[in-house]
Amino acid sequence: MTKKKLTQNPLFLPLVCVVLVLAVNVVYDIAQGNAFYDFFRITMQASASGEQLLSGRLVTILNRGSEVAILAIGMTLVVSASAGTDISVGSVMSLCASFCCMLGAGFGVSAVNDPSEFAMPLIVGLIGALVMGCVCGAFNGALVAYLNIQPMVATLILWSAARAIGLLLCNNLIVYVRVPQYQVFGGYIGFMPTPIIIAAICIVVVSLVLKHTAMGMYIQSVGINKKASRIAGLNSKRIIFMCYLLCGLCAGIAGIVNSSRISSADANNIGLNMELDAILAVALGGNSLGGGKFNLAGSIIGAYTIQAITTTMYNLGVSSAVAPVFKAVVVIVIVVIQAPPVKAWVRKHAASRSTGKEAAHA
């Protein structure tokens, strides 16, 4: 009975998938003659400047997966409320990062190597980036919610435009901000990687909001039945708009983290194709892209699963050029496992096997 309940938990399959990916590493480590827990070992290592930093492959997964995890939060809400995806988040990340760096460095400047060279206090740049994220989200939201444009088409506009605007802001250059105050967002606070902290804060804040307000129910209700929700007094359009706005904000945060990681505004590469990872994270988390019920924890697990796959590839020594192929194979397997017909087949198979056993006993 408890076993049945466990398998019916919506998080069961996403968790099985992440465990499977991790298991591959264990098998590999054993085959290589390493300790089976090698992959999970978390140690303190001294960095070049002598600081003690948390390290290990699990830490790498959590650290590197932060951006996608943050994006997955917004994407989950967008998918739930509007049964569509926001494909602009990667480009919006790039735009926000460029905007942040340019506000700080001053427009036309190509590198900042010392805090004294800042044109404006860093905080202005950071807030500017978040505001820019919200503006982009609001733009998408207005198109989808109030003009009834299909989400894919509406967000296609910023998917192509936002990155280009970012490039314009940077004069087509990679703008370096090699200042510790900025690098910290992609670096470490004490021994802890900052992206992990930022992602954790985002997840906790959104979870608390979902728990203590009716937002979750509003979003799901609108996603399931927009017309009925309106009759019951929900402002369906405003709720969809809000989801896109939050998604844009998440992209802004992820943009800052990603740009800080590389100490620069590289408009061409920041967040490149990351919207696809974010959508994949939502799907891997067992959420229907058809909208309605959502499970935020599933999406977060999905996000880290994607990073776990990537890290595993590097662990296995797969070259980065070939890695996407393997990644695709793994994703196909995971998605197929979660497909309804396969689930039904497994259930049927399990049932017939257990009845077969009973028959044999009798």
Binding site: H212, T213, A214, M215, M217, Y218, Q220, S221, I224, N225, K227, A228, S229, R230, I231, A232, G233, L234, N235, G292, K293
Partner: protein, 506 residues
């Protein structure tokens, strides 16, 4: 078979899970006749049509078509077309971005010897076809350049050109205006003179009397009768559709129930309208009054209610709620003024299918409080349990998704949603549709009880008898306009006469 009969259906029976949709129904269609198929919602009109066109698989009975040996049993609309039965539905099933000629001949284009489409012949034939039916169009223009009425006629032309003996028109006029309907009738009469038998399904009485030769009436899946048009005046038709033989249940109205005229006003509507659905109307509703809206389907009953509630924002007019001028832009505004609306389409506008019974019940109350003032989980459960108990909603648990409940229990849950908001004015649009008789009576009693508590109720139902049992007063609607009110002693005869209107009205 009589020599001028093109279609006979004998003893058609069909069961949907739990419902006898058709019970031993006969239908006869003669050559060159327009035959109205009438009945209220759920009477079995569409089911009968679908048995004929091969969409439904009937269990018993026989269909004979003129010129076809033996009994016909269609398994698809293609089969039906092969024996000469064509259908035109309410929505035009053509391609707007193709030309009229292409639409007329799609799938059966004239070919050249090289197996390419012979456009010249196609356009010529198309032109002859539309001229014959007196439809004024340029067949090389795209279909989307023409009005819905023309598109409808093109669909009919296409259907009639396919060696058609029986033409079924399923609600073809519901999206047309009066002059367009005129044009459509011309085409129908032309086809009639060519010997086509036409089955005309509609809710509009006027149109039946304007164009039909004969009427077959269905009620609750059974045949009431077949009448030449002259033998069945409107009032009798309405009576036949609704059923005169209603259960004479004991009155549930308490003593002194009728008298609400001295009570203060709850709703005062002046000149309220919604373009295209309900013409300007005035309506007063007193506190503690149950007002019934009556009229045939499509007469504007739901639309009147929706324009008050803001579900379809009123385009003109003013509304006072409890004596105060009110502006209602969206349902939430109406809710904050103490209103509630139980919509007639439970599935599309009522339930949130994947959410639990609990969430469905507290949804409106939560919406009224706002997103940031969440009802505590304990409070939510208490409210849900209270109404599950009070209305005896049959559900496995309060966390069961509402879509797993039966229709009647879903309806009770939506009713609970509104009761939880403690409304002063509750609009119930077909609250008892598709619900068993026991639950119906419970809901009727609840309406009386709510009005005793001083709440005003607007009650919309297709069943006159249940309105007679619960309403103080009735407003009558016809063809998208409020045409009168009935006060005092409400009787079936008075209501039917008022609904039918026209020459038979006294």
């Amino acid at each position: 078979m009589e020599n001028n009969v093109v279609l006979t259906m004998r003893g058609i029976s069909m069961t949907f899970p739990g419902v006898k949709a058709l019970d031993n129904v006969d239908f006869t269609l003669r050559r060159g006749e327009i035959h109205a198929l009438m009945g209220e919602n759920g009477a079995g009109k569409s089911t009968l049509i679908k048995c004929l066109t091969g969409i439904n698989d009937f269990e018993a009975g026989e269909i004979h078509v003129d010129g076809v040996e033996g009994a016909v049993k269609n398994h698809s609309t293609q089969d039906a077309q092969n024996v000469g039965i064509s259908t035109v539905y309410q929505e035009v099933n053509l391609c707007p971005n193709l030309s009229v000629a292409e639409n007329l001949y799609i799938g059966r284009e004239p070919m050249t010897p090289l197996r390419t489409i012979d456009r010249k012949t196609m356009i010529k034939k198309a032109d002859e076809l539309v001229k014959r039916l007196d439809i004024k169009v340029d067949v090389t223009q795209n279909l989307e350049n023409y009005s819905l009425a023309i598109q409808q006629m093109i669909a009919i032309a296409r259907a009639s050109d396919m060696d058609c003996k029986v033409l079924i028109l399923d609600e073809p006029t519901s999206s047309l205006d009066d002059s367009e309907v005129e044009k459509l009738f011309k085409v129908m009469n032309q086809l009639k003179s060519e010997g086509v038998g036409i089955i005309f399904v509609t809710h509009f009485l006027e149109q039946v009397y304007a164009v039909c030769d004969r009427i077959t009436v269905l009620r609750n899946g059974t045949l009431v009768g077949e009448y030449p048009i002259a033998d069945l005046p409107r009032v009798k038709l309405v009576a036949a559709m609704m059923g005169k033989d209603f259960d004479d249940l004991a009155s549930i109205k308490p003593e002194g129930f009728e008298d609400r005229h001295d009570a203060p006003m709850q709703i005062e509507a002046r000149g309220l309208s919604h373009r295209g659905t309900i013409k300007p109307f005035d309506l007063d509703i007193h506190k503690g009054e149950v007002i019934g809206l009556t009229g045939l389907l499509g007469s504007g009953r739901s639309e009147l209610a929706r324009s008050i509630y803001g579900a379809d924002k009123a385009h003109t007019g003013t509304l006072k709620v409890g004596g105060q001028e009110a502006r209602i832009n969206q349902p939430l505004d109406a809710m904050n003024l103490g209103m509630g609306l139980l919509p007639d389409d439970r599935k599309a506008e009522g339930i949130i299918g994947d959410l639990s019974v609990r969430e469905n019940i507290i949804l409106a109350l939560q919406a009224k409080r706002g997103m940031f003032k969440q009802l505590s989980r304990a409070k939510q459960e208490e409210i849900a349990d209270r109404y599950i108990d009070l209305l005896q909603i049959k559900t496995a648990t309060r966390e069961t998704p509402i879509k797993q409940l039966s229709g009647g229990n879903q309806q009770k849950a939506i009713l609970a949603r509104w009761l939880a908001t403690d409304p002063d004015f509750l609009i119930l649009d077909e609250p008892t549709r598709g619900i068993d008789i026991g639950t119906k009576t419970e809901i009727q009693k609840l309406i009386i009880q709510l009005s005793q508590e001083g709440k005003s109720i607007m009650f919309i139902s297709s069943e006159i008898e249940e309105m007679l049992r619960t309403c103080n007063r009735m407003a009558v609607l016809r063809d998208g306009a409020k045409v009168g009110e009935l006060d005092g002693e409400l009787t079936q005869e008075r209501v039917m006469a008022a609904i039918a209107g026209g020459a038979d009205n006294d």
